[in-house]
Point group: D2
Chain length 328, copies 4
């Protein structure tokens, strides 16, 4: 049995705790949360102990940690865990500061512990089916990638204020997807954005609607579009175009029922949000983390992926402010 | 914790055992199987005891049974369980003989124990979404129902020989679906069938391709088509047509990826077979059985549903032999 | 230039006149209609002469006739045209009486004139694309055929009263489609029907909703469903199932636009009715008739097809009344 | 009867000639083409006279001209026709030089003749159905537009060399579409492009794959993607996203047949190229031109639209070379 400590007992922490409970090879031994009642409640449900960071990491029987606490604690917890020799699974982003990420990864790399970053899209069965099609040459040479990502509704402005902004908080997933699917690093980033959903987002210094174009050294092109609000649910689609054709992944719908009446044929909406859409991905993330600890396999996404995506987010932010493409 | 005994440690028994293991309120205490090694293996995996029927039913701490053994043992195990006061979940069919089903249900009904019959379609989220549409009046008055059910490939002829034939073994699910969705009992049954997939099926006295039409007292019509072989996977679709429109449930596909190339746009196949397609349904069957035991709710499908569907199967068999519609 | 006489200046006659006008090799010389003003109006539009049947058929420069008058005049006009040596295009049905059809076809056959019957489905590009798939072996051996045919709304009861009833008037198209696609004559017909759309249809002795099953000598099965009312438009679909897969033709929609909002994704309705859905088919019917006259090619559907479909309609009617399958 | 002169007897000229021939209110009186045999052949087919530009324009009975000759003749013919008081329908682009377009439009505007520019997308029934959805508020406030336009295969390099390049030759249609659908002029243009289809295109100084982002003054965003090669046919799709949902127009397929077999469900390809895809649009262009001449209605797209789209193309070209967004 692999023993883990869960840092963070909020929404995303609960998902991980639940997946651990359903997994036969892994166990939540400890839960740490600055807000004690949340930690206590989750600990009770899953038969874990509420402890301090130090107590948890001091246990020689502890194999790894799941870091699902607030973003500003990630890098510090990663460093402490690395120094204690514990395998790390950390939610994205590592940190909002590129410098801080570099520092942290230097320490983590030195420690040689497992370091898996929670880019959930990479574990999604649909996107993996797409990647298999691409790897199998179904579209020939990939030439253009189109990623559509729209949230059902914006988070509270309080969250937006500490989120690092749309590019670092939301589009970072799409930057990672783009890197993963293109199989090449983008060398040029252009972004344009606006605030169309809620003026309060603009007042907080952020945008809610954005388009980004990426170009790789070999000339492959990628376009990403984000909106903080789609009234019809979570819109997560990818189109890959190449010399031999096109592969597309549509949304997962709430049901396969279509009703046809006087006004047309109505199919179900996309699944509401990430908890529904990426339910399988969260389970597969844990499976991969277990395999990393148990069998020494490589994480599907590691620290360097966290850094590279953040660099793309930084470049996009700069481009959106200067009106110039940023070269990497 | 609700304690159950599992009768039958084969493929379908394993599914139920696995679902019980993932359910926090229920436990497999005993496993009974004529083939001891299968029982032992499953018992070891789920920490249950291998016992005899009598031993299991004698335990006052046992709340219910899951009957997933071969068809010819169902009625007997139901009777013994009922007499022992245990809640019953039994895979369809209760028995291949109408008379035997009636006898058995008389005993079960007298005992007043929970009696849930495993018509998995009734638990399927897709078909429930369809039923909700119908109940919400989305198609107005239901007038016509079309049920398509095709297996990916036929079972071994040895199974066919003891299966009771296509109408009792395969189409019985569709008869139950039709009754459930029509909301009325069919009063007229016509069937026509042939052997097109494998002559060995015909030699065993069965058919592999069949069309049935049903009519209710109010004039609602239903058509059911079955084939024992669909090279593209498990084909499970329903179309409901009414005074205000039409509702359709398509197949669940293996992925949402579509590849478009020189030969057209290719979407994924339907999920392979019942284990994949009705995975959620098997979990929800167990949830319902637990709710029946714990809260006294009614089973979604009970003994009378087992009997009525068998009567429709008998009528279809007779019609396919005489060329006449059978009135019920 | 091929000169034609048009019998019947009503709705369907106008379609044919319009198609002739757009065709560079053919010309409407004469128009005959019992209702003179209709004939005059159409004649003026297309620069034709209004004459009597006798006058038209007496013209040695006349090459053929298009019979689009009321059903009870078809057989008589076919006989007169055949005796006058004119090529015949006649709307279905030849007549509502099997005996009368046989008489008429005997005379037509003796005359050796071209005889094309207006089974418009056979000219439809969609259904031809399906047939090409079947002929190319895309589904292997055809085993099961499902034909769905629903009109947007029922005709007036006055029409129903003289129509010959649903089987002879509406489903006759589907019987012809079935014969054409099965490539074998059905030998068993079963029908069940009811009156669910409008009680006035039942009072007129007809049905408005019907299911038919056909079986061929080799065991191929076919199911046909008809309704006189579909609030969402003209529903014309075919599914062909075989040893290597399934081919389906969906409806032609009013547009390719899909709108996704809070209630789901809404696609356009099917095209409203036969004038829209079979617009291309009517043009291709004329092309074929011209080729028959000009090049001696065989009509896509001829007199024998009119007779065979009527025999299936008769059998279905009998079956729906007796509850027994009718063997042919 | 409206008399027209056709300048240009090539492929696109033939389409216009054929549509005129099928139109009851309009007639090709003259055909002018530098390559006499082409003019003669078309003139013979449609019963027109082959004349010089001067002869045609001198005829007081001539109402208008269709300019479908090579791009470098457009502006000159427009000026001559305008001075002769003839209504003008001219294929896009007016000219490849912004200055020349301005000069030409000044003369045309002064003459007050009808001036319709052949932006065929604006006449397409699918895109009009989309526009009606937007105008009806089906997606609320439009916030983002995604235009996908891919040709089945690149034109010969000789054509590319005189075409003005991808932005002026191909994407100009999408710029016009964007302006038409956004209902606002773009104020910021960014483009990135590469040569992935054929190195010869790059050697000719052009690109074959391009992404453009547009932004309007109110913050609406638009992304356009172009490729000179899609092995599956002509890919012409639009997605409009707004505060209340999303509207999408898919491709028109070669047929509605889907074949499902061991490898999945295969639907037909998109229609091959513009002749098939925009067949209806070409007819409706002519209808609009006739209505402009006959009834004085406004052209759907006029000279100013030709200029504005060219300005966007110029801006895109500059941006693709400088890596900076161009502000208009």
């Amino acid at each position: 049995m692999i023993n883990l400590c869960l840092f963070g007992a909020g929404r995303i922490g609960s998902i991980h705790a639940n997946n651990v409970a359903r997994h036969s090879e892994v166990n939540i031994a400890y839960i740490v949360d600055a807000y004690q009642p949340a930690a206590e409640e989750l600990a009770k449900k899953y038969d874990a102990k509420v402890v301090s960071v130090e107590e948890a990491l001091a246990d020689p029987e502890l194999h790894g940690v799941i870091i699902a606490s607030s973003t500003n604690t990630h890098a510090n917890l990663m460093e402490l865990s690395a120094k204690a020799g514990k395998a790390i699974f950390c939610e994205k982003p590592v940190d909002l500061s590129v410098e801080r990420v570099r520092e942290c990864l230097a320490i983590v790399n030195e420690s040689k512990v497992v370091c898996s970053i929670g880019f959930n899209r990479r574990y999604d069965p649909q996107f993996n089916a797409l990647k298999e099609s691409l790897d199998a040459g179904k579209v020939g040479n990939l030439e253009m990638l189109t990623i559509t990502s729209r949230d059902p509704s914006p988070p509270p402005v309080e969250y937006i204020e500490v989120s690092g902004g749309l590019f670092r908080d939301m589009m970072i997933h799409d930057f990672d997807l783009a890197r993963w699917l293109l199989g090449e690093e983008p060398v040029e980033v252009f972004a344009t954005a606006s605030c169309q959903v809620d003026p309060a987002i603009g007042e907080a210094g952020d945008v809610d609607t954005a388009l980004v174009t990426l170009k790789t050294a070999s000339g492959k092109l990628c376009q990403i579009s984000n909106s903080r609000r789609a009234v019809y649910g979570y819109d997560q689609r990818i189109e890959a175009f190449g010399s031999q054709g096109m592969a597309q992944v549509g949304n997962q719908l709430e049901s396969q029922v279509t009703v046809t009446g006087e006004k047309g044929s109505t199919a179900a909406k996309p699944q509401f949000f990430f908890l529904e859409r990426y339910e399988a991905a969260y389970r597969l993330e844990l499976d991969n983390f277990v395999a990393c600890i148990r069998d020494g396999v490589q994480p599907v996404a590691s620290g360097i992926d966290g850094l590279q995506s953040l660099l793309l987010a930084e470049a996009a932010l700069e481009s959106s402010r200067t009106g110039k493409a940023v070269n990497l």
